[in-house]
Symmetry: C3
Subunit: 342 residues, 3 copies
């Protein structure tokens, strides 16, 4: 694991000041970085702290050359230091956390009619059922389960213990973390005589390209058609997505959020941690549902909402502030009523 | 996968109008169904939309014959179209999502004293420990774990990766979705000197007949006795049930709900998604705790409650409405105080 | 499984009254215990109920001798009956729920450079990757996954299906329940052009000694450094811990709590069930965040907070009480405004 300062400058499309041959062994936050670490300064207003950093090499905003005059180490000046840092991390990652090697582990159980693409990995104890398709370059981690006629796209990586149930489809370039279940049955019953009788769930889940899904999530298959996770959407840990939900592209859905049945979430929406969205609701594109917020009705595009029942953010914050004054308001009212003889 | 319109009429105990021999290949919502699909109309007031449907065969309410005069396809008039649709789905499901085949996969690890009933399935990589009992017709999915002396009842189906820990009991006709853990230790400590010392959890979990449990749930064993899930209860994904909890019959417990230790939930109760119920509380039968609601004390039978701290639904909705008026109330109070010289 | 009353008295460092040779076969709550059961009375004020108990042997507070004069069974008087009961339960547990036997199951997949300590257990279907280290006496349950260069400390017990991802470290004496994932990637993206690009997560998780973690939790690895769970901390089921979080020692973190990125939780803090804590926040030591509470900013040590947005407990309870009076307050205000002609 090593990257020279010159290579970092090239990744950053930046200008190097200092030792181009410096070998970087790791990456660290500014205040903890040592002489063989790469660090970054996102905002010139923290240049003072950066000047005191012991980082061997600093990625800094173009234009901060003078502010960093006191910094002893090597600096790469670049348009977007955080982005350049991310690119450098990818280089370190390839060494630190290499992808599993190609091939099928002998303990994997692959049913005869399953098709396994070239250059893919099927880990120990994984099960790939009849009719399943693993595309070239995909990685099916140890102890994963790929159901009948399920599909995993090119280059997608499933960490250990992921279950993709029958007929579900994972696109290309996806990452699914350990323990997540794609395609559990939707929650649907008819109860004509008090007993709950199960409505068969014969739909599927379609996860489009470049989606990442965290650990121990549960995404239910549709009753009849498709539960959809749009391309580029990123889902955190322990998230629940119910049947028939349609999530747009490039959404961010944070830990422990829950989205109830048949709800639609527009492109680029952000759903905060532990937020809960009722069934059959439409969340407009580019909207943001803040952490812990409950949504019971449609939300227009571009809204930012907060609260146990979501309200526009500023209104919700105003109400929260006034709640602290509620005891005072109550006392004032009592006094007024007394004075007016009410 | 095929069902004739005549067979659909028989399942529905209904009256057929049109082509009795029509072969149905699938099922779909009214507005998306095509000429070889079955669809249903739950409510005669949507008969206009139904008339425009391209569905090959429609299940419609008895009495809606005239309203559907314009509908070109075949119709089955029946008392409960949704229920009839569900029965038809079961037929499609048997083809689309057949149960695993009988027998023990050679990679399953079955300890010598475990008993495996006739016509059951034990999938690849499953582990069945000493003294465990799998009843006839049960299906233990790939990579499941059945602990020592645990029991799985007749015809129950465990999806891949379910763990039934030692001594726990699953009734007949149950369905448990992938990744769920039945019988993790309850959360109990004594801390006489600041350090938390574990109280051994030597009880078990008993899941009665016809229970369905979603994906990636966690149901803890009792400290001494039994954590109970009553017959016919249906639990959604990512639900937490703590030790010593007793859930009644035919309850509905939705995604990400949490029920703390020793709480009792009465028959036919509904616990909404992300609801949280404190420990040692009694939830009366036929009550409904709405989504996101917190319950800190007993709830009488038949109540419907909502809110961060649950209140009767109408009161909670009234309070929510008034919260929007809080800024206006605060301004009015200031004005009044000024006018009265307070 | 058997313990004599004399042995119970010895464990309790207490004084025995009655039959020293009585054989106890189990443990039960006071009101349900039978003649061969051990039970305990925590508080002398319930001595009346205890006197009516059919328990064979009762652990009771020293000083309650006279209050229990009517109790027919054997009694052990001791300083801390609950603690003594816990010690007795450990004896029963050793019989009822013995630890897995030593050795590696032949179906476990152990890569050549992994090191497996003496007297440890590696269960069926477990996978231990290159460079991993399992310390002496550790127990790796069936179907567990131990990633590359991961470490599990002495005597720690991992229940079935736990995943410890690459480079993560579990201390000594830890217990991790089924299905939990340690070391999934943190949730981090840069989105300079609208698309979310993944920031590699090259840090790890360090779980210190004597930590217990419930079932189906997800604990993310740090972006660069360490996500830390301090010694003696106990975590319940379905908890989310994000990247870079630092949790102190002897904390209690209850079911479905979520702690967002880079947040620090001080020693001995209690985080209630379904509580949600924002990113980059500091929770002071000895503080308590009650169930369902949301925390968006730092919390001083020793605070007890409650509410959708956490406030000091008494204030939050006062506000909750006044919310019930909000309709009445609104009516009074209308009346006053009318009377004053506003």
């Amino acid at each position: 694991m090593s990257l020279t300062a010159a290579e970092a400058a090239k990744l950053a499309q930046g200008t190097l000041r200092g030792d181009a041959g410096l070998k970087l062994q790791g990456a660290a936050p500014l205040e903890k970085a040592g002489p063989s670490d790469l660090a970054f300064l996102a905002d010139p207003s923290f240049a003072g702290a950066a000047a005191a950093s012991k980082a061997g090499c600093l990625l800094a905003p173009a234009g901060s050359e003078e502010l960093l005059a006191a910094f002893k180490g090597t600096v790469v000046f670049t348009k977007n230091p955080k982005y350049a840092f991310m690119l450098a991390l990818r280089r370190f990652e390839a060494d630190l956390r290499p992808a599993p090697e190609r091939g099928r582990h002998p303990t994997a159980v692959i049913y005869p009619s399953a098709k396994i693409g070239a250059d893919s990995h099927v880990g120990p104890g994984a099960v790939v059922e009849e009719g399943a398709y693993i595309a070239p370059g995909a990685s099916i981690g140890a102890q994963c389960y790929i159901g009948r006629n399920a599909r995993v796209g090119m280059g997608s990586r499933l960490y250990p213990g992921v279950k993709v149930m029958d007929a579900c489809e994972i696109g290309s370039g996806c990452i699914i973390h350990a323990g997540t279940v794609i395609g559990s049955d939707g929650y649907g019953y008819v109860s004509p005589r008090g007993r709950h009788e199960k409505i068969p769930q014969i739909g599927k889940v379609v996860v489009e390209d470049d989606v990442e899904i965290g650990a121990n999530c549960a995404i239910d298959r549709a009753a009849l058609e498709v539960t959809l996770i749009g391309a580029g959407t990123k889902i955190d840990n322990l998230v629940h997505v119910a049947h028939n939900v349609r999530i747009g592209r490039n959404c961010l859905i944070m830990a422990q959020a829950a989205i109830a049945g048949s709800t639609e979430v527009g492109d680029n929406a952000i759903i905060g941690g532990q937020a809960g969205i009722s069934d059959h609701v439409k969340i407009g594109e580019n909207s943001a549902v803040m952490a812990g917020t409950g949504i019971m009705s449609d939300l227009a595009p571009g809204q930012v909402v907060f609260g146990h029942i979501g309200r526009p953010r500023l209104q919700a914050m105003k109400i929260e502030a006034l709640l602290s004054k509620l005891p005072e308001m109550h006392r004032a009212l009592s006094k007024i009523k007394k004075q007016l003889g009410i």
